[in-house]
Amino acid sequence: MQQQEVVQVISDATKYRETYDEVYDHVLSRLAASNQIYTLALVNEILLNDFGGKTEILAEENVYAKNINKQYFRAFKEEILNTFKWPTAMANISLILFWVFLYYSSLNTGFNSKPLTAAIGVIVILMCLFYYLKRYYLDRKSKKPSIKYSFLQASTSIGISFYVFAFFWFISKDSLVDIDNNLKTIIVLSLFCFTSIYLRAFIKLYGKKFTVLTA
Protein backbone atom coordinates (compact mmCIF):
# COMPACT_ATOMS: atom_id res chain seq x y z
CA MET A 1 0.00 0.00 0.00
CA GLN A 2 2.74 2.44 1.05
CA GLN A 3 4.85 1.40 -1.90
CA GLN A 4 1.89 1.94 -4.23
CA GLU A 5 1.51 5.45 -2.88
CA VAL A 6 5.17 6.21 -3.50
CA VAL A 7 4.91 4.74 -7.00
CA GLN A 8 1.90 6.94 -7.73
CA VAL A 9 3.49 10.14 -6.45
CA ILE A 10 6.73 9.60 -8.38
CA SER A 11 4.87 8.44 -11.45
CA ASP A 12 2.98 11.73 -11.47
CA ALA A 13 6.19 13.71 -11.10
CA THR A 14 8.14 12.07 -13.93
CA LYS A 15 7.76 11.59 -17.66
CA TYR A 16 10.48 9.10 -18.57
CA ARG A 17 11.38 5.69 -17.21
CA GLU A 18 15.00 6.60 -16.48
CA THR A 19 14.03 9.54 -14.28
CA TYR A 20 11.26 7.58 -12.62
CA ASP A 21 13.65 4.74 -11.69
CA GLU A 22 16.26 7.13 -10.39
CA VAL A 23 13.88 9.23 -8.30
CA TYR A 24 12.07 6.13 -7.01
CA ASP A 25 15.33 4.48 -5.94
CA HIS A 26 16.47 7.69 -4.29
CA VAL A 27 13.23 8.21 -2.37
CA LEU A 28 13.16 4.60 -1.14
CA SER A 29 16.81 4.82 -0.09
CA ARG A 30 16.04 8.01 1.81
CA LEU A 31 12.97 6.48 3.44
CA ALA A 32 14.94 3.41 4.47
CA ALA A 33 17.66 5.58 6.04
CA SER A 34 15.17 7.90 7.72
CA ASN A 35 14.19 7.49 11.36
CA GLN A 36 10.81 9.06 10.72
CA ILE A 37 7.60 7.08 10.40
CA TYR A 38 6.37 6.75 6.83
CA THR A 39 3.78 9.24 5.67
CA LEU A 40 2.89 10.48 2.22
CA ALA A 41 3.82 13.97 3.39
CA LEU A 42 7.33 12.68 4.07
CA VAL A 43 7.61 11.44 0.49
CA ASN A 44 6.47 14.82 -0.82
CA GLU A 45 8.93 16.52 1.51
CA ILE A 46 11.81 14.41 0.17
CA LEU A 47 10.79 15.26 -3.38
CA LEU A 48 10.61 18.94 -2.54
CA ASN A 49 13.81 19.17 -0.50
CA ASP A 50 15.99 16.91 -2.61
CA PHE A 51 14.71 17.61 -6.10
CA GLY A 52 12.88 20.93 -5.81
CA GLY A 53 9.46 19.37 -6.39
CA LYS A 54 7.56 18.12 -9.41
CA THR A 55 8.13 21.18 -11.59
CA GLU A 56 11.88 21.02 -11.08
CA ILE A 57 11.97 17.29 -11.81
CA LEU A 58 10.08 17.77 -15.07
CA ALA A 59 12.26 20.73 -16.06
CA GLU A 60 15.42 18.75 -15.36
CA GLU A 61 14.01 15.80 -17.30
CA ASN A 62 13.53 17.98 -20.37
CA VAL A 63 17.10 19.28 -20.19
CA TYR A 64 18.36 15.72 -19.72
CA ALA A 65 16.33 14.43 -22.69
CA LYS A 66 17.60 17.23 -24.93
CA ASN A 67 21.21 16.59 -23.95
CA ILE A 68 20.87 12.84 -24.44
CA ASN A 69 19.31 13.36 -27.86
CA LYS A 70 22.12 15.69 -28.86
CA GLN A 71 24.65 13.14 -27.68
CA TYR A 72 22.96 10.37 -29.67
CA PHE A 73 22.83 12.46 -32.84
CA ARG A 74 26.49 13.40 -32.38
CA ALA A 75 27.35 9.71 -31.97
CA PHE A 76 25.23 8.86 -35.04
CA LYS A 77 27.08 11.47 -37.10
CA GLU A 78 30.40 10.03 -35.86
CA GLU A 79 29.35 6.54 -36.91
CA ILE A 80 28.42 7.83 -40.37
CA LEU A 81 31.84 9.50 -40.68
CA ASN A 82 33.50 6.33 -39.38
CA THR A 83 32.23 4.44 -42.41
CA PHE A 84 34.66 6.55 -44.44
CA LYS A 85 37.63 5.56 -42.29
CA TRP A 86 39.88 2.64 -43.01
CA PRO A 87 39.15 -0.37 -42.95
CA THR A 88 35.37 0.18 -42.91
CA ALA A 89 35.77 2.50 -45.89
CA MET A 90 36.26 -0.67 -47.97
CA ALA A 91 32.50 -1.20 -47.92
CA ASN A 92 31.93 2.34 -49.20
CA ILE A 93 34.59 1.95 -51.90
CA SER A 94 32.88 -1.27 -53.03
CA LEU A 95 29.57 0.58 -53.08
CA ILE A 96 31.01 3.37 -55.22
CA LEU A 97 32.55 0.83 -57.61
CA PHE A 98 29.18 -0.93 -57.77
CA TRP A 99 27.56 2.47 -58.41
CA VAL A 100 29.98 3.27 -61.25
CA PHE A 101 29.64 -0.22 -62.76
CA LEU A 102 25.82 -0.13 -62.73
CA TYR A 103 25.70 3.41 -64.02
CA TYR A 104 27.98 2.88 -67.00
CA SER A 105 26.50 -0.49 -67.90
CA SER A 106 23.05 1.12 -67.84
CA LEU A 107 24.02 3.82 -70.34
CA ASN A 108 23.58 1.45 -73.28
CA THR A 109 21.12 -1.08 -71.95
CA GLY A 110 18.92 1.11 -69.73
CA PHE A 111 18.50 0.68 -66.00
CA ASN A 112 15.69 -1.10 -64.20
CA SER A 113 15.52 0.90 -60.97
CA LYS A 114 12.55 -0.99 -59.50
CA PRO A 115 14.46 -3.72 -57.56
CA LEU A 116 16.86 -1.19 -56.06
CA THR A 117 14.04 1.25 -55.21
CA ALA A 118 12.11 -1.58 -53.58
CA ALA A 119 15.18 -2.69 -51.60
CA ILE A 120 15.73 0.84 -50.27
CA GLY A 121 12.04 1.06 -49.35
CA VAL A 122 12.16 -2.25 -47.48
CA ILE A 123 15.24 -1.17 -45.50
CA VAL A 124 13.79 2.18 -44.35
CA ILE A 125 10.40 0.62 -43.55
CA LEU A 126 12.08 -2.16 -41.52
CA MET A 127 14.03 0.46 -39.59
CA CYS A 128 10.80 2.27 -38.74
CA LEU A 129 9.11 -0.99 -37.80
CA PHE A 130 12.03 -1.78 -35.53
CA TYR A 131 11.27 1.38 -33.54
CA TYR A 132 7.56 0.56 -33.24
CA LEU A 133 8.28 -3.07 -32.36
CA LYS A 134 10.70 -2.06 -29.61
CA ARG A 135 8.63 0.80 -28.29
CA TYR A 136 5.15 -0.71 -28.36
CA TYR A 137 5.70 -4.48 -28.26
CA LEU A 138 8.98 -5.44 -26.61
CA ASP A 139 8.67 -2.63 -24.10
CA ARG A 140 4.90 -2.84 -23.67
CA LYS A 141 5.13 -3.74 -19.97
CA SER A 142 6.98 -0.54 -19.10
CA LYS A 143 4.82 2.05 -17.42
CA LYS A 144 6.78 4.91 -18.90
CA PRO A 145 8.61 5.38 -22.17
CA SER A 146 12.39 5.45 -22.23
CA ILE A 147 14.16 8.74 -22.80
CA LYS A 148 15.97 7.20 -25.78
CA TYR A 149 12.81 6.61 -27.80
CA SER A 150 12.64 10.15 -29.11
CA PHE A 151 16.07 9.66 -30.70
CA LEU A 152 15.14 6.20 -31.98
CA GLN A 153 11.95 7.55 -33.53
CA ALA A 154 13.67 10.56 -35.08
CA SER A 155 16.64 8.60 -36.42
CA THR A 156 14.50 5.87 -37.99
CA SER A 157 12.04 8.41 -39.44
CA ILE A 158 14.80 10.33 -41.25
CA GLY A 159 15.32 7.43 -43.67
CA ILE A 160 11.69 6.89 -44.52
CA SER A 161 11.00 10.63 -44.87
CA PHE A 162 13.92 11.04 -47.22
CA TYR A 163 12.87 7.98 -49.20
CA VAL A 164 9.24 9.15 -49.56
CA PHE A 165 10.45 12.59 -50.62
CA ALA A 166 12.87 11.21 -53.23
CA PHE A 167 10.34 8.65 -54.46
CA PHE A 168 7.44 11.02 -55.05
CA TRP A 169 9.53 13.91 -56.31
CA PHE A 170 11.99 12.12 -58.58
CA ILE A 171 11.77 8.32 -58.81
CA SER A 172 8.15 7.25 -59.27
CA LYS A 173 6.48 7.04 -62.67
CA ASP A 174 4.27 10.03 -61.86
CA SER A 175 6.99 11.98 -60.07
CA LEU A 176 6.37 15.65 -59.35
CA VAL A 177 9.58 16.64 -61.09
CA ASP A 178 10.07 15.36 -64.58
CA ILE A 179 13.65 14.16 -64.99
CA ASP A 180 15.34 12.05 -67.66
CA ASN A 181 16.14 8.37 -67.04
CA ASN A 182 19.84 9.03 -66.75
CA LEU A 183 19.38 11.41 -63.81
CA LYS A 184 16.84 9.06 -62.26
CA THR A 185 19.44 6.28 -62.34
CA ILE A 186 21.95 8.55 -60.61
CA ILE A 187 19.41 9.43 -57.90
CA VAL A 188 18.43 5.79 -57.24
CA LEU A 189 22.03 4.60 -57.11
CA SER A 190 23.04 7.48 -54.83
CA LEU A 191 20.05 6.85 -52.59
CA PHE A 192 21.09 3.21 -52.34
CA CYS A 193 24.62 4.22 -51.27
CA PHE A 194 23.30 6.68 -48.66
CA THR A 195 20.83 4.11 -47.31
CA SER A 196 23.60 1.57 -46.94
CA ILE A 197 25.79 4.05 -45.00
CA TYR A 198 22.83 5.15 -42.87
CA LEU A 199 21.84 1.58 -42.02
CA ARG A 200 25.38 0.46 -41.16
CA ALA A 201 25.94 3.54 -38.96
CA PHE A 202 22.64 2.95 -37.19
CA ILE A 203 23.41 -0.72 -36.49
CA LYS A 204 26.87 0.20 -35.17
CA LEU A 205 25.46 2.95 -32.96
CA TYR A 206 22.73 0.73 -31.63
CA GLY A 207 25.11 -2.11 -30.83
CA LYS A 208 27.84 0.02 -29.33
CA LYS A 209 26.29 2.98 -27.57
CA PHE A 210 22.59 2.52 -27.19
CA THR A 211 22.94 0.31 -24.14
CA VAL A 212 25.66 2.44 -22.59
CA LEU A 213 23.90 5.77 -22.67
CA THR A 214 20.80 6.01 -20.50
CA ALA A 215 20.91 2.37 -19.50
Binding site: D25, L28, S29, F51, V63, N67, I68, K70, L213, A215
Partner: protein, 112 residues
Amino acid sequence: MAVNNELFKGTLQTIILNLLSENERMYGYEITQKVKSITQGELLLKEGALYPALHKLEAGGLLETTTEVVDNRVRKYYSLSQNGEKEVVNKLQEAKDFINQLQLLLNLKASL
Protein backbone atom coordinates in the same frame (compact mmCIF):
# COMPACT_ATOMS: atom_id res chain seq x y z
CA MET B 1 31.04 25.13 10.92
CA ALA B 2 29.23 23.93 7.78
CA VAL B 3 30.83 24.78 4.45
CA ASN B 4 28.90 27.18 2.25
CA ASN B 5 27.55 25.01 -0.58
CA GLU B 6 27.82 27.90 -3.05
CA LEU B 7 31.60 27.66 -2.76
CA PHE B 8 31.83 24.21 -4.23
CA LYS B 9 29.25 24.49 -7.00
CA GLY B 10 31.93 25.03 -9.63
CA THR B 11 33.80 21.93 -8.51
CA LEU B 12 30.81 19.60 -8.35
CA GLN B 13 31.72 17.81 -11.57
CA THR B 14 35.30 17.36 -10.37
CA ILE B 15 34.05 15.91 -7.08
CA ILE B 16 31.78 13.45 -8.90
CA LEU B 17 34.46 12.40 -11.37
CA ASN B 18 36.99 11.94 -8.60
CA LEU B 19 34.61 9.87 -6.48
CA LEU B 20 33.88 7.66 -9.47
CA SER B 21 37.57 7.24 -10.20
CA GLU B 22 38.05 5.98 -6.64
CA ASN B 23 34.92 3.83 -6.62
CA GLU B 24 34.25 1.77 -9.70
CA ARG B 25 30.56 2.63 -9.87
CA MET B 26 28.13 4.53 -7.68
CA TYR B 27 24.49 5.49 -7.63
CA GLY B 28 23.09 8.94 -6.86
CA TYR B 29 22.11 8.47 -3.23
CA GLU B 30 25.40 6.69 -2.53
CA ILE B 31 27.33 9.70 -3.85
CA THR B 32 25.49 12.10 -1.53
CA GLN B 33 26.18 9.83 1.44
CA LYS B 34 29.83 9.40 0.49
CA VAL B 35 30.32 13.18 0.34
CA LYS B 36 28.56 13.52 3.65
CA SER B 37 30.74 10.87 5.31
CA ILE B 38 34.05 12.15 3.87
CA THR B 39 33.32 15.71 4.97
CA GLN B 40 31.76 14.51 8.24
CA GLY B 41 28.51 16.23 7.39
CA GLU B 42 30.13 19.61 6.75
CA LEU B 43 29.32 19.48 3.08
CA LEU B 44 25.84 18.48 2.00
CA LEU B 45 25.46 17.63 -1.64
CA LYS B 46 21.93 18.52 -2.67
CA GLU B 47 20.24 16.08 -5.00
CA GLY B 48 18.80 18.97 -6.97
CA ALA B 49 22.37 19.79 -7.98
CA LEU B 50 23.78 16.26 -8.07
CA TYR B 51 21.42 14.63 -10.57
CA PRO B 52 21.59 17.45 -13.16
CA ALA B 53 25.39 17.32 -12.88
CA LEU B 54 25.39 13.52 -13.30
CA HIS B 55 23.07 13.78 -16.31
CA LYS B 56 25.20 16.50 -17.86
CA LEU B 57 28.34 14.39 -17.47
CA GLU B 58 26.47 11.39 -18.87
CA ALA B 59 25.20 13.33 -21.88
CA GLY B 60 28.70 14.72 -22.36
CA GLY B 61 29.99 11.16 -22.70
CA LEU B 62 32.14 11.31 -19.54
CA LEU B 63 29.99 8.85 -17.62
CA GLU B 64 28.45 5.54 -18.55
CA THR B 65 25.48 3.98 -16.85
CA THR B 66 24.32 0.50 -15.99
CA THR B 67 21.19 -0.63 -14.24
CA GLU B 68 20.64 -3.37 -11.73
CA VAL B 69 17.58 -4.56 -9.87
CA VAL B 70 18.13 -4.10 -6.13
CA ASP B 71 15.35 -4.77 -3.60
CA ASN B 72 12.80 -5.00 -6.43
CA ARG B 73 13.66 -1.60 -7.84
CA VAL B 74 15.90 -0.47 -10.66
CA ARG B 75 19.10 1.18 -9.53
CA LYS B 76 21.14 3.25 -11.93
CA TYR B 77 24.89 3.10 -11.45
CA TYR B 78 27.30 5.65 -12.88
CA SER B 79 30.86 4.87 -13.85
CA LEU B 80 33.60 6.69 -15.73
CA SER B 81 33.74 6.25 -19.48
CA GLN B 82 37.09 6.17 -21.28
CA ASN B 83 36.80 9.91 -21.91
CA GLY B 84 35.81 10.41 -18.28
CA GLU B 85 38.96 8.64 -17.09
CA LYS B 86 41.05 11.08 -19.12
CA GLU B 87 38.99 14.07 -18.04
CA VAL B 88 39.29 13.34 -14.31
CA VAL B 89 43.05 13.92 -14.49
CA ASN B 90 42.55 17.32 -16.16
CA LYS B 91 39.77 18.34 -13.80
CA LEU B 92 41.82 17.42 -10.72
CA GLN B 93 44.78 19.39 -12.00
CA GLU B 94 42.52 22.38 -12.73
CA ALA B 95 41.09 22.19 -9.21
CA LYS B 96 44.57 21.94 -7.65
CA ASP B 97 45.78 24.92 -9.64
CA PHE B 98 42.70 26.89 -8.64
CA ILE B 99 43.15 26.05 -4.95
CA ASN B 100 46.81 27.11 -5.14
CA GLN B 101 45.88 30.41 -6.75
CA LEU B 102 43.11 30.96 -4.24
CA GLN B 103 45.46 30.28 -1.35
CA LEU B 104 47.96 32.69 -2.80
CA LEU B 105 45.32 35.36 -3.26
CA LEU B 106 43.79 34.94 0.17
CA ASN B 107 47.16 34.84 1.91
CA LEU B 108 48.20 37.99 0.11
CA LYS B 109 44.99 39.74 1.14
CA ALA B 110 45.33 38.56 4.69
CA SER B 111 48.88 39.93 4.92
CA LEU B 112 47.89 43.36 3.63
